[in-house]
């Protein structure tokens, strides 16, 4: 197993990045597709494995038309969303119908425009699969998340004011079933999405294949939820502790006998807005840790179970701690430098992620040959870009 390597440096990328922004500003945005190409080429070409590198082949001209359409589309959606609640609903429904197609086209285009060691990638997943994975399954999950609780609320409204033991038990059972269902659906969705994408990838004549179990995703998700409960509890304990420090024990007793707005008033009276800020930062850090845990675990599992052409194996050694630290330090870096540190943040991320991506090169890569594929327009790619569609092909 050999790790990938990222050979770029923060300052070198900063120069490319700042010139990109300058030209985008001067041309009032028209330069964006060319800027994107230079960006992509820098990151692809600096990614190497045993002296062989990746390449990004799309040109600014290819991306331009799709970019213009995407921008017009973005403006229309943004305006419609703001015009009225019904418009917002319409925009949401319209987007959910278009997004699967966008993801599908975007995957095909960006893979076809990528190569490693002079051999092109491809994506051969079908459109039907895209609609199942990016519309039907997420739709079911949303229905569960919003539909279930609304059902309970509606039912509660019809009840008399005092709820008896029986009703309480019924609601608790329903909530429990709902949470179990949500966890399972989310794991199922994550599994199917990964399955659809990885099995659709081709490298030359080589096929990527993976066989994943929803059960394993459920396990990772439950562990993440457990970690979340643990962290939330410690933040809560810490908060109460700080309140005691700030106001003394008697006022703590008072807190529990008062309602929410009084607690807020108490907090402000004791001038602990600073402490509230600390709690906010604690929440942010907690989010980073949880995201890092989930991502690194899923990555380890998926990589370990993916194989190219039946013989090239993969592995991820990315740990929760290193990823969480990267997210926190990058966040601070970008915030403190008012955005100017972004190039360094991106390079740090690429270095860490690639260093922890391992490929089994024992059988050699010399035998791979580029296969012909129908030409794809860059339309999907650019719309996906504009709407920040996360297709997760990034290694």
């Amino acid at each position: 197993m050999k790790p990938l390597d990222f050979g770029g440096s923060g300052f070198e990328y900063f120069k490319i990045w700042i010139v990109n922004i300058l030209l985008i500003l001067i041309t009032l945005g028209v330069y964006y597709p060319w800027a994107k190409v230079r960006n992509q080429r820098y990151f692809y070409a600096n990614t190497t494995l045993e002296g062989r590198n990746f390449e990004y082949h799309a040109t600014g001209k290819q991306l331009l038309m799709g970019y213009i359409i995407a921008m017009v589309f973005l403006m229309v959606v943004s305006i419609v969303q703001n015009v009225s609640p019904i418009g917002a609903l319409g925009a949401f429904l319209g987007l959910s119908i278009i997004i699967p197609w966008v993801v599908w086209r975007s995957l095909a285009f960006s893979m076809r425009m990528s190569s490693f060691s002079n051999v092109r990638f491809r994506f051969v997943g079908d459109l039907k699969g895209a609609y199942i994975n990016f519309m039907l399954l997420p739709g079911l999950l949303l229905l569960c998340i919003y539909g279930g609780p609304s059902l309970v609320l509606l039912w509660l409204i019809t009840l008399p004011t005092s709820i008896g033991m029986e009703e309480g038990l019924l609601i608790a059972t329903f909530a429990f079933v709902l949470i179990v269902l949500m966890v399972y659906l989310f794991a199922f969705l994550k599994n199917k999405n990964t399955h659809y994408m990885v099995n659709g990838y081709r490298f030359g004549q080589g096929q990527f294949s993976t066989l994943l179990e929803t059960q394993k995703f459920v396990k990772i998700l439950l562990k993440t939820l457990g970690l979340a409960v643990l962290i939330l509890m410690s933040i809560a304990i810490l908060t109460v502790f700080m309140m005691v420090l700030a106001g003394g024990f008697p006022s703590l007793l008072n807190i529990f006998s008062q309602d929410a707005s009084d607690i807020l008033a108490w907090l402000l009276r004791h001038n602990i807005e600073g402490a509230l800020g600390l709690v906010y930062i604690a929440f942010l850090m907690a989010t980073f840790i949880l995201v890092a845990y989930f991502q690194s675990q899923v990555r380890q599992y998926v990589f370990a179970n993916t194989v190219l052409n039946g013989k090239v194996n993969f592995s991820s050694s990315l740990t929760t701690i290193s990823l969480a630290w990267l997210m926190m330090s990058n966040f601070l870096l970008v915030l403190v430098t008012l955005g100017l540190g972004t190039p360094w943040a991106k390079v740090r991320r690429a270095k860490l992620i690639l260093k922890n991506t391992l490929v089994d090169v024992e059988h050699g890569i010399d035998g791979f040959i580029t296969q012909q594929q129908d030409k794809q327009s860059a339309l999907g790619e650019q719309i996906g870009d504009a709407f920040d569609v996360d297709i997760g092909i990034g290694v």
């Binding site: 050979g7 770029g8 070198e12 990328y13 900063f14 120069k15 490319i16 700042i18 010139v19 922004i21 300058l22 985008i24 500003l25 945005g29 964006y32 230079r38 960006n39 820098y42 070409a45 600096n46 062989r52 590198n53 390449e55 973005l74 403006m75 943004s78 305006i79 703001n82 015009v83 009225s84 019904i86 051999v119 092109r120 030359g204 707005s261 807020l264 008033a265 402000l268 807005e273 600073g274 509230l276 800020g277 942010l284 995201v291 997210m327 926190m328 990058n330 966040f331 970008v334 955005g339 100017l340 972004t342 943040a345 991106k346 010399d366 035998g367 791979f368 580029t370 870009d385 504009a386």
Partner: protein
Amino acid sequence: MIQGVWFSQGRAQKYDATLQVRAQSYVISVEGGELLQGDLNQLTVSDRIGNVERKLTLSDGSVFASRENDAIDDLLQANRNGPGLIHFLESRVAWILLALVITIGSAIAGFRWGVPLASEFIAHALPHKTNALIANETLSFLDEFTFKPSQLSAAKQNRIRDHFRERLVPLDEKNQHLKYTLHFRAWDYAGNSIPNALALPSGDIIVTDQFINLSQNQAQIDSVLLHEMGHVVHRHSLQKLIETTLIGATMVMISGDSNSAVDMGVGLGSIMVTSHYSRNHEYEADAYAFKKMLQAGIDPQAFAKVMQRMQHFMNSKQHGRKNNRTAASPASTEKPPLGKIIDYLSSHPSTEKRVQQAQAYSQCFKQKSAACDRL
């Protein structure tokens, strides 16, 4: 002689190779003895980026790749176009500094003046129908989810409405096509009745019962109604919509394919920028109200008075909560640093500052001087 590797078209296997140029032709000798030669013009050379491997594609689709970027640039310089303008910019420190200064400068100028000016221009260039369109369902939506019917007596409502129609609406002589309609509603939130007034772009102005109850005289009601008319005349809703859209598009372009941590910083930035615009709209509406009050012979002090009354009311209701953010946004003079940051994110200016403005106008109202034109 340039060292590199050679790939035949579409194949992963690489061979060590060297490139030599003589006059207008090249010779690539591949390990194992194969020789490829041709005219330099038939080579497609990728643009230089940083110091990444350069690809020279031959006419048969095979590729010669090398990291000896400077040697390749020299070779091309002597024969053809050179390393390209973009790389030239990227590799000169002076140009980078200039780019940095221009970028930061134009970003600040763009956010500060460019976007608001463009939005103002676009908002006023659009037909009035657009205003009605974006306000279309808002009132019925608010009625369903936020407001309750007014408890004020029909006589009181009619008295205020008549005064509004006869005295205030004619002041807006430039916009006779606008149809102003006054609505009375009750607004309860968390057990408190909220004093507030708001304007929809269509010309519908909504005042809450609590606001009417808090105001002591007609002048105070008028000052707030004129402020809301200012929002309508300046088409602030439409401007806000355009500003948000422009900022959103810019942020997408700058952040591009960033990760979630970077997105969070960018999101915070765009909230700060849009709240800045929103505060400027409030000042603009205030200024409109003050000018019309001078015109109608009402002392702008009334606005200061009613703002302070609303602030006092909110303060007393909220047990000394310092940072409440309704139209009558109270603000204390001394703030811990975090309070200041929250203020910068706030969509309304501090009451204190608005009261000062009102008093400045009130000064020239009392002196009957024309000095107020400058304000």
